[in-house]
C-alpha cells in the first residue's frame, strides 16, 4: 500500500497535477523569496519595540539548516550593556533598571523534525531574553513529540525596585527578586484522552523597608500618641503549585478535569536595632530594638471541571470550580524603646487561621439558527466566603495586658446572566447587542471594636446591575473596517463610591489595512456618575489614538502612534484638619490627568546588510494646565495640601537608535543607545524624582 502511495500514481488527480519541473521552479522561488519574507516578517514584528535590546535581527538563514531528519534554526546574541544615570537613581531603578555588564541578550533555537516522526522529539523551540544579569529575564522551552507528549516550560526573573515615595514618603522600599517557573506536560496530546501534569513555582526574596507604629501606652491603637519607625524586612515568599488533569473526548463531548494543589508561605521577618526617634518625635516615644516573626502558611487546592459540546447549530459549555483556600499564621513581635515615663517593652502575639471556600459555576449556551445569527447566553454563579479568627494578645511591661479575639467574615455571592446577539445583515454590515444582569449579595460580620465586645454585628447589602450593549460593524471596503460600540449600565447599590453606578461607555474603531499600509484610529469614552448624598463621585475618561504602519519598500518601514488619555474625576471627601479637630471638613477632590503619548519608529535596510533603527517614545502629562502646584498666593493650609495633588504633570521620553550589520551570513554586529529622561514638573510631596540616563549596548549575534 505504501509503495503504491509513494509513486503518486494511486491518485489520478495527483498524478495529473504533479509537474516536477514546475514544482522545482516554485520551490526555488520560495528559496529566493524566503529570506526576504523572513526579514520582512521579523522587521515588522520588531517595529514597535520600545526597548533597545534585544536586537530583533537574527543571524543565519530564517529557513534554517537541515541536519539529518531535522531542520535547525538558531540565533544568539551576546553583548555588553551599560547604563549611566543622573538624578534619582531610585526612580530609574523603579522605571527601567537596566544595569551594566555582559549578557546573553537573546537566544532562539528551533529544531523541527522534517517528517513529523522524530525519534525522541519532533519539535524543540527555545527562546531566551536577558540571561546573565538583566533585571528582566525569561526562558521559554517547548519540546514535543507528535502523539506522545508536549512539554512547555517558562522561567522568568524580575528584579523589582521601588522606593515607594508616594505611599510612605520614601520609608517603604523594596529591592526584591521574583523567580517564576511553570512546567506543563501533556501526555497523548492528539488522542481522545489526554493527561496533564504541571508544576509552578513563584518566589520573591530580598530586602525591603517597612514601618511600624508604636506608642507603648498599653492601647491596641495608638491614636495621636503613636510614632512610626522604620523597620527592615527580609522578604521570603514562596508558592508551589502541582497540577494533575485530563481531557476526555467522548461522543462529541469534551470533559476537562483539573486538580491543583497550591501551597504558599510567607516567612518574611522584620527587625530593627539602634535608637530611632521616628516620624513623630514630639511624642517622646523611641524605638531601640524591634523584632517580628510572622510566618504565614496557606494552601489553595482547587478542582476544575469543564464540559463542552460543540455542534453546527448549538454549542454548550459548563464549568465548575471549587477553591478551598486556607491559611494559618502566627505573629510574634517584641519592641524595646522608651517614652517620657521611661524604658518600655511590648510584646504582641497573634495566632489564628483564615479560610476561603469559593465555588464558581458557568453555563454557556450558543445557538446558531442561521449562518448570519449567533445567540449566546451565559449564566454564572460565584459564592465566596472568607472567614477567620485572630487571637490577639498584647503585653506591656508585664503590667498592662490587652486581650481579644476578633474576626471578620466576608461573604460574596454573585449571580450574573449575559445574553449576546450577533447578526450579519449584509456581508459588509453586522450588528451585535447584549444585555447583562448581575446581582451581588455581600454579607459581613466584623468585630474589632475597641474595647472589644464580641457583638458580631452582621451587615448585608445587595447590588443589582443591568447593562445593555449595542455595536455595529461596517466594512465598506475590503480593506476598511469601522466598529462602533456602546454600553450603558445602571446599578442600585454599588459597593464603593468609585464603583460603576450610572455609566456609559462609548467606543469606535477604524482600520484600513492593505499590504503596505495600515491605518488605525480609536476612540473610547467612559463616563461614570456615582453621586449620592455627601459624596459626589464622577469620572470621565476619554481616549483617542491613531496609529500608522507603512512599508513602502523592503528596505524602509515606518510605524507611528499617538494616544491621548484624558481622565478627570471628582470625589466627595471628608477629612479633619488640625489636631483632634472637633468636626470634619467636606470638600470635592478633583483629579485631572491629560496624557499625550506618542511613538515613532523607522527602520532602514542599507545594501541588504545594515539595519538602522531609530525610535522615539514620549509620555507627556500636561495635567490641568496650571503653572504652579498650588494657586499663586494661596495660604490656606488645606488648599496647600489638596491643590498640588489634583494633577501630576510630568514628561517621560525615551529616544533610541540601533544599528545591526550583517558581517557574514551567520554573524551580525549590533550596537544601540537609548536615552531616558524623566521629569516631574511640580515634584511630589517635596520630592523630585527626575532622572536622565544613557543606556546602550554592543553585541554580536551569531548562528551555529
Amino acid at each position: 500500500m505504501r509503495n503504491i502511495f509513494l509513486s503518486g500514481a494511486a491518485n489520478p488527480v495527483v498524478g495529473r497535477a504533479i509537474l516536477p519541473a514546475a514544482a522545482f521552479q516554485a520551490a526555488h522561488r520560495v528559496k529566493a523569496g524566503g529570506s526576504i519574507l523572513g526579514l520582512l516578517l521579523v522587521a515588522h514584528a520588531a517595529l514597535a519595540q520600545q526597548v533597545v535590546t534585544p536586537t530583533p535581527d537574527q543571524a543565519g538563514s530564517p529557513r534554517g539548516t537541515n541536519t539529518g531528519d531535522y531542520n535547525v534554526t538558531d540565533s544568539f546574541e551576546t553583548g555588553y550593556r551599560f547604563a549611566v544615570v543622573n538624578g534619582s537613581v531610585g526612580t530609574y531603578r523603579s522605571d527601567v533598571n537596566y544595569g551594566t555588564g555582559i549578557r546573553l541578550l537573546s537566544g532562539n533555537l528551533s529544531v523541527n523534525s522534517r517528517d513529523g516522526h522524530g525519534r525522541w522529539f519532533d519539535q524543540i523551540v527555545l527562546t531566551t531574553i536577558g540571561l546573565g544579569n538583566d533585571p528582566y529575564q525569561s526562558v521559554t522551552l517547548r519540546v514535543e513529540k507528535n502523539k506522545l507528549y508536549r512539554y512547555d516550560m517558562l522561567w522568568r526573573l524580575d528584579d523589582y525596585f521601588n522606593p515607594g515615595l508616594p505611599v510612605a514618603g520614601g520609608q517603604h522600599l523594596m529591592d526584591t527578586t521574583r523567580h517564576m517557573q511553570d512546567h506543563n506536560l501533556t501526555l497523548l496530546p492528539q488522542s481522545k484522552i489526554q493527561f496533564h501534569l504541571g508544576y509552578s513555582r513563584n518566589t520573591q526574596d530580598g530586602p525591603a523597608l517597612s514601618t511600624v507604629q508604636l506608642c507603648f501606652d498599653g492601647n491596641i491603637y495608638c491614636g495621636t500618641a503613636g510614632n512610626e519607625f522604620p523597620v527592615f524586612e527580609n522578604v521570603r515568599r514562596e508558592q508551589n503549585e502541582f497540577r494533575l488533569g485530563a481531557d476526555v473526548d467522548l461522543a462529541g463531548f469534551k470533559l476537562t478535569l483539573l486538580h491543583s494543589w497550591v501551597f504558599f508561605k510567607d516567612d518574611s521577618g522584620y527587625q530593627e536595632s539602634g535608637l530611632e526617634s521616628g516620624d513623630n518625635p514630639s511624642t517622646g516615644v523611641t524605638l531601640s530594638q524591634f523584632q517580628r516573626a510572622e510566618p504565614y502558611h496557606g494552601a489553595s487546592p482547587y478542582w476544575l471541571a469543564n464540559l463542552n459540546k460543540s455542534g453546527k447549530s448549538l454549542a454548550v459549555n459548563g464549568r465548575v470550580t471549587y477553591v478551598d483556600g486556607k491559611g494559618n499564621f502566627i505573629l510574634d513581635e517584641n519592641a524595646f524603646g522608651g517614652t517620657p515615663l521611661g524604658a518600655q517593652n511590648q510584646q504582641v502575639q497573634v495566632g489564628g487561621d483564615a479560610s476561603r471556600p469559593s465555588l464558581t459555576g458557568d453555563l454557556s449556551i450558543s445557538v446558531f439558527p442561521t449562518a448570519r445569527l449567533t445567540l449566546v447566553n451565559n449564566t454564572s454563579i460565584d459564592s465566596t466566603r472568607i472567614d477567620g479568627t485572630s487571637d490577639y494578645a498584647q503585653f506591656n511591661l508585664a503590667t498592662q495586658t490587652a486581650d481579644f479575639i476578633s474576626f471578620r467574615y466576608l461573604g460574596m455571592r454573585t449571580i450574573a446572566n449575559a445574553t449576546d446577539l450577533h447578526y450579519r445583515l449584509k456581508d459588509w454590515l453586522s450588528f451585535y447587542g447584549g444585555y447583562r444582569y448581575s446581582e451581588r449579595r455581600i454579607e459581613d460580620i466584623e468585630d474589632y471594636a475597641i474595647p472589644s465586645p464580641l457583638t458580631g454585628a452582621m451587615y448585608e447589602q445587595e447590588n443589582h446591575l443591568q447593562a445593555g450593549l449595542l455595536g455595529i460593524r461596517i466594512k465598506p471596503l475590503k480593506a476598511m473596517t469601522i466598529n462602533l460600540e456602546s454600553e450603558i449600565g445602571r446599578a442600585n447599590q454599588p459597593f464603593t463610591p468609585v464603583s460603576d453606578r450610572n455609566y456609559i461607555a462609548l467606543g469606535g474603531r477604524f482600520e484600513y489595512r492593505v499590504k503596505k499600509l495600515t491605518l488605525g484610529a480609536l476612540y473610547k469614552e467612559n463616563y461614570n456618575n456615582n453621586s449620592v448624598t455627601l459624596s459626589s463621585y464622577s469620572s470621565h475618561a476619554r481616549t483617542y489614538s491613531a496609529n500608522a504602519a507603512w512599508t513602502p519598500r523592503d528596505w524602509f518601514t515606518l510605524d507611528a502612534s499617538y494616544s491621548k488619555l484624558h481622565l478627570d474625576s471628582l470625589s466627595g471627601i471628608v477629612f479633619f484638619a488640625g489636631p483632634e479637630a472637633a468636626s470634619p471638613l467636606t470638600s470635592n477632590q478633583i483629579y485631572i490627568s491629560n496624557i499625550h503619548a506618542a511613538n515613532l519608529v523607522t527602520r532602514f535596510v542599507v545594501a541588504k546588510r545594515v539595519d538602522l533603527y531609530v525610535g522615539y517614545t514620549i509620555t507627556d502629562d500636561t495635567g490641568d494646565g496650571r503653572n504652579t502646584a498650588a494657586p499663586a498666593g494661596a495660604t490656606d493650609p488645606t488648599t496647600l495640601i489638596f491643590a498640588p495633588v489634583q494633577t501630576f504633570p510630568l514628561s517621560y521620553q525615551a529616544p533610541l537608535a540601533r544599528v545591526s550589520i550583517r558581517l557574514r551570513e551567520k554573524l551580525r554586529w549590533n550596537a544601540g543607545w537609548q536615552y531616558y529622561n524623566y521629569h516631574e514638573q511640580f515634584g511630589l510631596e517635596s520630592f523630585y524624582q527626575g532622572y536622565h540616563a544613557n543606556t546602550g549596548y554592543t553585541s554580536v549575534t551569531w548562528a551555529f
Binding site: 495527483v14 514597535a48 507604629q213 504558599f264 483564615a354 454557556s364 464603593t496 470625589s571
Partner: protein, 301 residues
C-alpha cells in the same frame, strides 16, 4: 527534491474521498506554503497519517480541492478560501477542531468575536513569524496593532514589563474569551483571565495578596485590584490611579451613603487623622497591610 516528493506522497491520506485530492496536489502550485509546512503545528495531522481527509493537510481547513485543481487554480474554486470568508465562517472552520479546547470555551461570547475579530485576524497559518501559536506577529505587537492606547500605557514610567519581554499580554488576558469575572459586575472587565480557576489574574504572580486573610480589605475582593491600580501602566508609582496615596483612600473613606460592608458608608477617618500633618497623608505608613491582614482589622501589622 525527490526526497521531498517522496515525503509528501508518503503523507497523503491513504483513502481520499472523491473530492479530496490530497496535500501533494496542493504542493505542486503552492510550494511556498508547503516548503516549511513541516514546522507548522497543523502538520501533525499529516504526520499522524490516521486522520480522515477532511481533517488533515490543506483540505482539512480549505475543504476538498478537486474543483480547484480542475479549474487550474482560482480563489473562488477553493471551498474555504479564508481571505474571502466572512468572520463567522472563519471562526466556525477553525472551531471544527479547536472548539473543545478549554481555553476557547468562551470564544463565541468574547468581545473579539462580537466585534468580528476572529482567528485569522491574529493568527497567520502559513506565514507566522512567531515561534509558537502561529501568531501573525510577535504577541505584543499584534495586540498593540489595535490597542494603541494600551501600547501607550506600557510606555509609561511605571508599567508591567511587557515591552521588556518579561511578560506577555496573555499572562493576564485570554483573547479567546473568558468566564464571567468573580469580581466586579456586568461581565467587566472583559477578556481578563483567571488565576486558580476563579480569581483575579493579578494573583497568578502576586501570590502574597491572595490570602485568605482574617481581615480582608473588602474592595480588593469585591471590586478587584483595578479599584486602586492601573494594571497596564501609569504615571504614578505602584501603578496607582492617583499620584499620592491619601487622595486614593479619601475617594472611598468618606462615610457617605450606603456604601461599604456596613451598609452605612465606608468609614471616614477619625479625628486623630490631622491631614495637615504629613504623617497622616501617608496612609500606608501605618496601614502597611492594606491588601489584607491576619492580625489587625485596621491593617497595622
Amino acid at each position: 527534491m525527490s526526497r521531498w516528493l517522496l515525503l509528501v506522497c508518503a503523507c497523503v491520506p491513504l483513502i481520499a474521498a472523491d473530492d479530496y485530492v490530497g496535500s501533494a496536489a496542493c504542493k505542486t502550485c503552492h510550494a511556498d506554503v508547503w516548503f516549511n509546512f513541516y514546522k507548522n503545528p497543523h502538520y501533525k495531522s499529516i504526520a499522524s497519517g490516521d486522520q480522515p481527509p477532511d481533517r488533515t493537510g490543506c483540505e482539512g481547513c480549505h475543504g476538498p480541492g478537486k474543483a480547484h485543481v480542475e479549474a487550474h487554480g482560482g480563489k473562488t474554486t477553493i471551498p474555504r478560501a479564508f481571505s474571502l470568508m466572512q468572520p463567522k465562517a472563519v471562526l466556525d472552520t477553525c472551531l471544527t477542531c479547536h472548539a473543545s479546547n478549554f481555553s476557547k470555551s468562551n470564544i463565541r461570547r468574547s468581545q473579539h468575536s462580537l466585534a468580528d475579530v476572529v482567528c485569522t485576524n491574529c493568527h497567520s497559518i502559513h506565514k507566522s513569524p512567531a515561534p509558537q501559536f502561529l501568531l501573525a506577529r510577535k504577541q505584543t505587537e499584534l495586540c498593540y496593532g489595535c490597542h494603541a492606547d494600551v501600547r501607550a500605557q506600557f510606555s509609561m514610567p511605571f508599567k508591567h514589563r511587557v515591552n521588556e519581554g518579561f511578560m506577555a499580554c496573555t499572562d493576564c488576558h485570554n483573547p479567546h474569551g473568558t468566564f464571567a469575572p468573580t469580581w466586579g459586575m456586568a461581565d467587566r472587565p472583559r477578556l481578563v483571565d483567571r488565576a486558580e480557576g476563579n480569581e483575579q489574574a493579578c494573583l497568578k504572580c502576586h501570590a502574597d495578596k491572595r490570602g485568605p486573610f482574617a481581615y480582608e480589605h473588602p474592595p480588593v475582593r469585591v471590586e478587584g485590584c483595578g479599584v486602586c491600580h492601573m494594571p497596564h501602566g501609569s504615571t504614578n508609582a505602584k501603578l496607582l490611579v492617583r499620584p499620592v496615596v491619601f487622595t486614593l483612600c479619601l475617594r472611598c473613606h468618606n462615610g457617605a451613603d450606603s456604601f461599604g460592608t456596613r451598609n452605612n458608608g465606608i468609614p471616614a477617618l477619625s479625628n486623630t487623622h490631622n491631614m495637615l500633618d504629613p504623617r497622616y497623608q501617608r496612609c500606608t505608613l501605618c496601614h502597611v497591610r492594606i491588601h489584607g491582614s491576619n492580625s489587625d482589622g485596621y491593617f497595622f501589622r
